[in-house]
Assembly symmetry: C2
């Protein structure tokens, strides 16, 4: 028997991963993942990439791409700079790097409940204990025991789809400043905006705390390129670069080059507008189908952005039991319990609306409604 | 002051990284890195990649690429299978994944002395203690305290360029079997072969121990694509897949697609032969220049493969002092001490021969010879 690290005890199979393999079955309607609609992808009509991209590149990423990203981050109010942008092999990598940087066994990480499940998995793997962050009073308990890190996705939060208010954002920034808590802000959905709402980065209002802000091109260019980025306060940035180097030397240069072409494309703003319009329409169609099929048996808020509906079941139906029966009928979703740092039961489902075609969404939600009514009657 | 993980105390700046930034200075002759010659790159004359690569892909990698790699590994005698190949974002990532899997603070990792420095950095970061592996008697001391992992690059070892004998390979396989030590075999240089020598993977002869074998396309296709792979024993493979998912979800699909095109290219064998011929010639030119300029002041063995000469200085000249003066004259190399797990002084230099043009190699080695003679006279 191989001698494995203690942390492998916290290495659990990913529920999403397991479900994604089921979702490959022919005819399966999946509301489970967070896959963008292929219609939104940038396409590949690009000139051939320059051959000098084939050599090893800098750990931090391509200078032109870093400069372009820094300019946009500064425009959002973040204290960034071209030399403080690190290109990531997707923003999942940023979570790994920050966990390596700040999480020992027993370190406390403050997260929302619910929170992005793949971040919970990484923090848990490195031995984190969780503390639940209350938007209304983020510093609660921090006087006695401040966490090492506060991890948040304040804009179109995964899984709930909601946005933090300006007050809640400022309160979190002040709390991190007052207690020396590293603020880790994950912002992959900010460009998928369907209604006006507060999107100012919390990191923009931090004055003394250390911070990391990260974003992704998976939702606005293409996820298969695996391209994300982070920027961080001056104390943390050089450490994150060393961790990136140890993790994979640097991000592949082809994806960096492709994303730079899209960022420089004069059509870019129009493309973002088209993507938002596409998703707004998908969301509205989904919301109507939800009302028709789950109207009496569940509640939800129509999300102002992002890719998910967070649907809370009325009555004592277990989402896990529902999933079992839904799978038999060819419908897949993610039970809310996977998003709880503290574990335990959860009466919610996360439903992705970006991937399924309208007729599949209609049929899948009809099946869920039917099963729910059956279970509630039983 | 941010609360960082205990392991960040072992997060040191990479000496290679620091040197690579110096190597960007105009006119600098660098023998320091392990950069392939751009002449060896596969080029980008490919049809446009299929658009369905833009969506998220499987964590393990593209099925066709995995099948192709598995077939080659089986051909080398390794107990692999398509479903037990994991595509990596470069083989540096494999080191990170194995360290996460098997290294706690205080875990013992057996390594050669000298050994690949970026592997030492990762193991050190996760808190490893090192044990020095003796090729002639790999199991020495394992009765009392077997290491968790034995990490080796038996073929064209980095930095020495040497190959393990068939006997030494079998002895290591038996030792890992007898003591339940995870064998981690890193094999990035195996196709850069200039003279016949033993290249059979050690993993091919393991019978009961857990093992991980990894390879890279950085030296035979292009490093900028960041593409590597691993295969592993059945007990470890699923855990490595989970770790890969947590690290970056999956490797970018463009690089996977490009490498698959090159693997399927009927010209592939001829291309590998051309690359080996190119490097063999560069090595021979370098060896001649070494003889001319460092003949009396250092010793070395001409490497049968790989990218490096390991040059041991005669007399009491410090490579670090030499590097300081060499940098002033525009010449860069890596001091041997960086490759020692146990730390301490080392009278060797690692000189890369693949990157510098022949006239630069000539000039750079002339400068090193001149400086060495000066220092030895002083």
């Amino acid at each position: 028997m191989a001698r494995l690290s203690v942390r492998t005890q916290n290495l659990h199979a990913s529920p999403v991963r397991e479900m994604l393999s089921v979702s490959q079955r022919p005819g399966m309607i999946s509301f489970a993942g967070g896959l963008p609609s292929p219609e939104s992808f940038a396409g590949l009509e690009l000139p051939p990439p320059p051959g000098d991209l084939l050599q090893y590149g800098p750990t931090e990423g391509e200078p032109e791409l870093r400069a372009k990203i820094a300019a946009e981050l500064i425009g959002l109010g973040i204290d960034s700079a071209p030399e403080r942008v690190l290109i990531l092999s997707g923003s999942q990598q940023g979570i790994d790097l920050v966990a390596k940087l700040a999480v020992d066994a027993g370190s406390v990480v403050a997260v929302e409940s619910p929170a992005y499940l793949a971040a919970l998995q990484v923090f848990r793997f490195f031995g984190a204990d969780f503390q639940i962050l209350d938007r209304a009073d983020p510093a609660e308990g921090w006087d006695k025991a401040p966490p090492a890190v506060a991890y948040v996705t304040p804009t179109f939060q995964n899984p709930t789809g909601g946005c933090w208010s300006a007050d809640a954002r400022r309160a979190l920034a002040r709390a991190c400043d007052a207690h020396g808590v590293i603020l880790f802000e994950d912002d992959p959905y900010r460009d998928l905006v369907y209604e006006p709402c507060e999107r100012r980065p919390v990191c923009a209002d931090v004055t003394s705390a250390s911070w990391v802000y990260q974003g992704s091109f998976s939702k606005t260019v293409a996820p298969g390129l695996r391209l994300g980025f982070l920027t961080a306060s001056e104390d943390l940035f050089p450490l994150l670069v060393r961790l990136k180097q140890a993790a994979d030397l640097h991000t592949n240069r082809l994806s960096q080059w492709m994303v730079l072409q899209y960022l420089n494309d004069p059509d870019r703003d129009a493309r973002l507008t088209r993507i938002a319009a596409l998703y707004r329409q998908k969301r509205d169609v989904f919301a109507e189908a939800l009302s028709r099929h789950l109207g009496g048996v569940a509640t939800w808020t129509v999300p102002p952005g992002g890719l998910f509906f967070w649907v809370t079941l009325k009555g004592a139906v277990s989402p896990e039991a529902l999933l079992k029966r839904a799978l038999e009928r060819g419908v897949l979703f993610t039970p809310g319990s996977h998003f709880l740092a503290q574990g335990g039961a959860c009466q919610a489902l996360r439903l992705n609306f970006s991937l399924a075609a309208p007729e599949d969404a209609e049929r899948g939600l009809a099946i869920l409604g039917e099963l729910l009514r059956e279970q509630m009657a039983a």
